[in-house]
Amino acid sequence: MVLTFFHMADIHLDQPFSSLGLVEGFPAKRREEIFHEFMRVLETAREEQPAFLFIAGDLYEHGYTNIKRISKINEAFSKLKGNILLISGNHDPESKNSFYSHFPWSENVHVLGRNKPNVIFEKEKVCVYGIGYDTGGGQAKILETIRTDRKYKNVLLLHGDVDLSLSTYNAVSSDMLKDIGFDYVALGHNHRMYIKDNIFNPGSLCALSFKEEGAHGYFKGDLSTGEVEFVNSKSRKYIDLKMDYEKLADFESMYPDKRNIYRIKVTGTKSDNKPLAIPEGYDYVQLTDARTAKKEKKAQEITRGIKGRFTDIMTSKMENIPSEEIKIYEDALKLGLQALSDEDLDLE
């Protein structure tokens, strides 16, 4: 029997994107894009008809997702021929009141967790276990009680970390999972895609921050043959760059994809106070001016008045402070010079 499946995790629907606040309306746009990408995968599932769809936690943001969103998801689920297996994650934990607990999910949706640790599909001869996350913490202890039956293909949905002993999120060892005898471990939680033996972590469906530059998407495979492939999602990428000011002019030719979300730390020497010019036509480019002020001649070489001395003092302080504080010192320099020139202070 063909036992095809899709496996995704960490979609984080309705996550706030405060870091994208530079362009007005962009965070909301990004949220909708992620939702549409998720729905696009469900549409693919509708066409390809996998027997199972595994979602290994953090489908949505508990504090931010509303019933309207959940209803749309459920409607899409109900159109799938296969079974949908869900577990909770640390962002959508199993709790007294949650959409997982009380939403009238479609009949083909199975929410696994503390109350329903596994489900057996006799026709397909598949047993799926689910270890999610609830408000009380991880549910990984349940693993100790699991005894797999070899007459079934055994699948584990786990929202947690594998081989990360310091993690507090359902930290389990790959050896333990191997000993229990799962045929496929559908992992979620870590946003970076990785595969270890039969443990598959798809990472977040779409990149959610500048820390998530690698591949993003979902796995599809067949439990009967053990074949698994990674499918890249079509969402924009986050690109975090460090560029010398001199090379900024080449940015457009180096990075022609204007849909991606760029953060560029501009390095080099600052020869004037002109603000950095944002490349035109791009959806989102965040420039951080990390240029260092051009070192002027030292006080020993030239005698300076208070403005010069003050500038020297501030510039030398800037050389010895963490980069995140440089802006404060640059501002301090500007404000100090304004005050010394008896000009209005720029307090905006």
Binding site: P16, N66, N97, F99, R309, F310, D331, L335, A339, L347
Partner: protein, 641 residues
């Protein structure tokens, strides 16, 4: 450095003019409006360029605009300079194109060798070792309007105080620090009201309340979902209970009906037993035959009576005729025997009676036949009537049976079954088998109704949530943006504090490094300018400027305007020396001695002449008294209108 020559292509009112300067003291004389200030401005602009970003406001005209040539398209000129290293340079500027070029004596462009010149056209910084601020605060002593009014001691004193703090007369550290501190206060903190910090804090609080409300609404939505689920479960239970109630009630009712049904059976059975086995067909046949036979007798009983009477009458007649005949015969016989035989013949008289007898007998036989026939008819009639009575009874019984059967059929119809067995089966089907409902049917229905009403309310609420477009994440982002702004206020305050610390540190450096040197030079110059009347111009930690006079320390405020002006000049010249450090700086002076008395003029001018052995001095004045010039080698450049 010294200036050898200045050529102006066009600058203010001056166009295509060359001025040659010597080493030492150069006296530039000219009436008012002859271009002294223009020439000074030209030299300053050639060295430092025009101040950038100056805006025209409140009657102030930026220099770049103010000195736009009146009669020439060319805006600029060149200076021929000799550096401290005795190199000759030609400095050329075009103020229109804002270009600066420096050429060496071989005509090579060496602008790039001067770092400040290359970047911001501050050639003076390279050549004089002073930035623009220092230059204008020291060796470039132009006509200061504030000094035209000698009574403005406070102003001059303030400048001296500024120098003490900042090394520059125009800059007050105290004022700058105060301004920065005001900035910190203006932005506000937790203890202030109505400031940016407070406004943002209030906005954040307000938006957080909104966020909490939105999240609470979302929680409520989940609670409604939980409630809907719970109600559905309860309804399922109640509907089971309702079924059990209905089952139990049906079972009870069916049993009652069975009992009633069977009760009717008990009524029907005896009635059935009472029914005769009369053959209705035979009866009807007999009746038909009888009706045919008895058709001629409307009243057979009366006819019968008539025949009985007739028979009786006939029998009486027969008896009478017989008796008469016998009596005649006997009489004849008796007569014959007794009287005459012939009289036997008299017996013949009996014959008519015998005939009558015979006739009557025959007639009576017919009557008897008729009577017997009638008797049969009457008997049959009676029998038929008896049968009819029985049949009438049967009908009554049958009617009763039919009635009971009808009631039984009503029961079957009511229970929607075809027959008694089906009724029994129904009882079996609805047998609750010992399960008793926990409430009565009515209460169960009431509870179901109540639950359904609540479910309706809950579903309506959920529909409302379903139609809501509220984005909780957007609200959170809005708050985070406000928090960023609040953080920026904190950072701005931190920046202001850093600026204060930096300025105070710079001020401290100046006090520690510059001021002692300034004090030394000021004292030296003041002594020379005042011909030994004053010396030891100094400052202390109180920021007060004092001078030692006749072994006592006095505040500069206590001196006359003239002395105060000399002190000011001493400080400017001292500043020029201190700030220029290793470089030899030309000194530019505009009408410096105009408010001095003769004695002061002399001592000051003598001092300047002495100073000009070291520094080139360009002294601009309307005129100069001869007694000041006597015995001095001075180049005089006359400016004409």
């Amino acid at each position: 450095m010294r200036i050898i020559a200045a050529h102006i292509y066009g600058y203010g009112k001056l166009a295509d003019r060359t001025f040659n300067f010597k080493e030492g003291l150069n006296l530039v004389l000219g009436k008012n409006e002859s271009g002294k200030s223009t020439l000074m401005s030209f030299i300053k602009a050639m060295l430092y360029g025009h101040k950038k970003n100056e805006r025209e406001k409140d009657g102030f005209i930026p220099e770049v605009k103010k000195y736009k040539p009146w009669n020439s398209d060319k805006y600029g000129g060149y200076l021929i300079l000799e550096t401290d290293e005795k190199k000759i340079l030609r400095v050329e500027r075009d103020f229109n194109g804002k270009t600066l070029s420096v050429y060496n004596e071989y005509g090579e462009d060496i602008t790039n060798e001067f770092s400040f010149s290359k970047e911001n056209e501050m050639l003076g910084q390279d050549l004089l070792g002073m930035d623009y601020e220092c230059f204008t605060n020291s060796s470039f002593i132009c006509q200061d309007k504030s000094l035209l009014y000698a009574e403005d001691k406070e102003h001059i004193a303030q400048k001296l105080m500024n120098i003490n703090e900042s090394g520059e007369e125009q800059i007050s550290v105290g004022k700058a620090v105060k301004k920065l501190k005001e900035g910190i206060t203006l932005l506000g903190n937790e203890r202030t009201k109505g400031r940016k910090y407070n406004i943002l804090s209030a906005q954040i609080r307000e938006e957080e309340i909104k966020l909490t409300n939105m999240q609470n609404e979302n929680k409520k939505c989940m609670e409604y979902l939980a409630e809907a689920e719970e109600i559905k479960k309860e309804l399922e239970e109640l509907e089971k209970e309702e079924k059990l109630c209905r089952k139990s009630e049906t079972f009870k009712r069916v049993n009652e009906n069975i009992e009633e049904y069977e009760g009717y059976n008990n009524e029907i059975e005896p009635l059935k037993k009472k029914l005769s086995d009369t053959d209705i067909d035979a009866y009807e046949k007999r009746r038909k035959e009888f009706d045919t036979v008895s058709g001629e007798y409307k009243e057979p009983e009366k006819a019968y009576e008539k025949f009985v009477k007739e028979e009786k009458r006939n029998n009486t007649k027969i008896t009478a005729f017989s008796i008469l005949a016998i009596l005649i015969i006997i009489t004849g016989a008796v007569l014959a025997i007794t009287t005459d035989k012939l009289l036997l013949l008299s017996a013949l008289a009996a014959i008519p009676f015998i005939v009558l007898l015979l006739i009557t007998r025959k007639k009576n036989k017919e009557t008897v036949n008729e009577k017997e026939k009638l008797d049969d008819i009457i008997k049959t009639k009676n029998e038929l009537e008896q049968i009819e009575t029985v049949l009438g009874n049967d009908k009554s019984f049958n009617d009763l049976i039919k009635g009971y059967t009808g009631l039984q059929e009503d029961i079957l119809r009511k229970e929607d079954v075809s027959d008694y067995n089906a009724l029994l089966e129904k009882a079996d089907i609805y047998n609750p088998e010992g399960k008793e409902p926990s409430m009565d049917y009515e209460e169960c229905l009431n509870r179901i109704q109540t639950k359904k009403v609540r479910l309706g309310v809950v579903k309506a609420q959920l529909d409302a949530y379903m139609n809501s477009d509220e984005q909780i994440a957007s609200q959170k982002e809005h708050i985070l943006l406000l928090e960023e702004q609040k953080k920026a206020v904190g950072e701005k305050q931190k920046a202001l504090q850093c600026a204060i610390d930096g300025i105070e540190e710079a001020s401290k450096q100046i006090r520690e490094e510059i001021i002692p040197e300034m004090n030394k030079n000021m004292s030296e110059y003041l002594e020379k300018i005042t011909a030994g009347k004053h010396d030891n111009l100094s400052t202390g930690s109180t920021m007060d400027l004092n001078t030692e006079h006749n072994k006592t320390i006095r505040s500069v405020y206590s001196f006359s305007d003239g002395t105060l002006r000399q002190m000011y000049l001493a400080f400017r010249l001292a500043a020029a020396k201190v700030f220029s450090s290793e470089c030899v700086t030309p000194v530019f002076m505009d009408e410096t001695l105009v408010y001095y008395d003769e004695e002061r003029k002399k001592s000051t001018f003598d001092f300047l002449y002495e100073l000009s052995r070291h520094n080139q001095i360009l002294f601009f004045a309307t005129d100069m008294e001869n007694f000041l010039l006597e015995g001095k080698d001075i180049a005089v450049i006359q400016l004409s209108k």
